[in-house]
Amino acid sequence: MIELTEQAIDFHNLTESVRDNAAGAVVLFLGTVREFTGGVQTAWLGYEAYPEMARASMAQLENEVRAKFTVTKVAISHRFGKLELGDVSVAIAVSSPHRAQAFDAGRWLIDTLKERVPIWKKEHYSDGREEWQHPGLPTETLCKDNDR
């Protein structure tokens, strides 16, 4: 199950969707909006997606995780739009006959999603600054004056 949504992610339903009598283990990962990063306070986050490619890319992750690991069921949901502190930005649920595979598959999915799926977050700090998060790019190329 692949989902890209502007609504709050129903991670309970996502977890239920991967439960299966063939599985002995379920792993759920939630990414949540953290208030402090290295002493800097976040007020809220804006997530932007390239929707068609993000959905295709998440579906591709599901295919690849099935090829790499022994998984029974997989569900991935990513949220976009404005997220407040503590909100769930991404939820990944995996079931597997055995727990080692469930943990490894869940970890591979979130690591690879963060490398590959075309979604971007913009930090809105409590001091009013805002900054796109583009790993590898120097900050000064990304900061815009708020009035620009």
Binding site: Y50, A54, E115, E140
Partner: protein, 86 residues
């Protein structure tokens, strides 16, 4: 047919879209063209993207592509900085 002028629409996202001030840039091509050529045209049209140039990623029809990928006017082309979802 080789002299028909065609338009490739390049979708921009995140900081690239903010810097360009628009969601789509239309680039004129004479014939099917490599991404490397589109990149040059895009940077001429939007010089503000220069600091991001080496980091920009390109996608065609929802898949990442390299500089030598050839595209035509019917392809869905996108250009954006490194992703940061999750």
């Amino acid at each position: 047919m080789s002299d028909v002028r065609n338009i490739v629409r390049v979708q921009l996202f995140a900081a690239a879209r903010d810097i360009a001030g628009r969601e789509v840039v239309e680039l004129e091509i004479v014939r099917p063209t490599e991404i490397a050529t589109l990149r040059k045209q895009l940077l001429e049209m939007v010089p503000g993207l220069q600091p991001l140039a080496n980091a920009l990623l390109w996608a065609v029809n929802n898949e990442y592509v390299r500089d030598d990928r050839v595209v035509g006017p019917s392809d869905a082309v996108a250009c954006f900085p490194p992703v940061s979802g999750g």
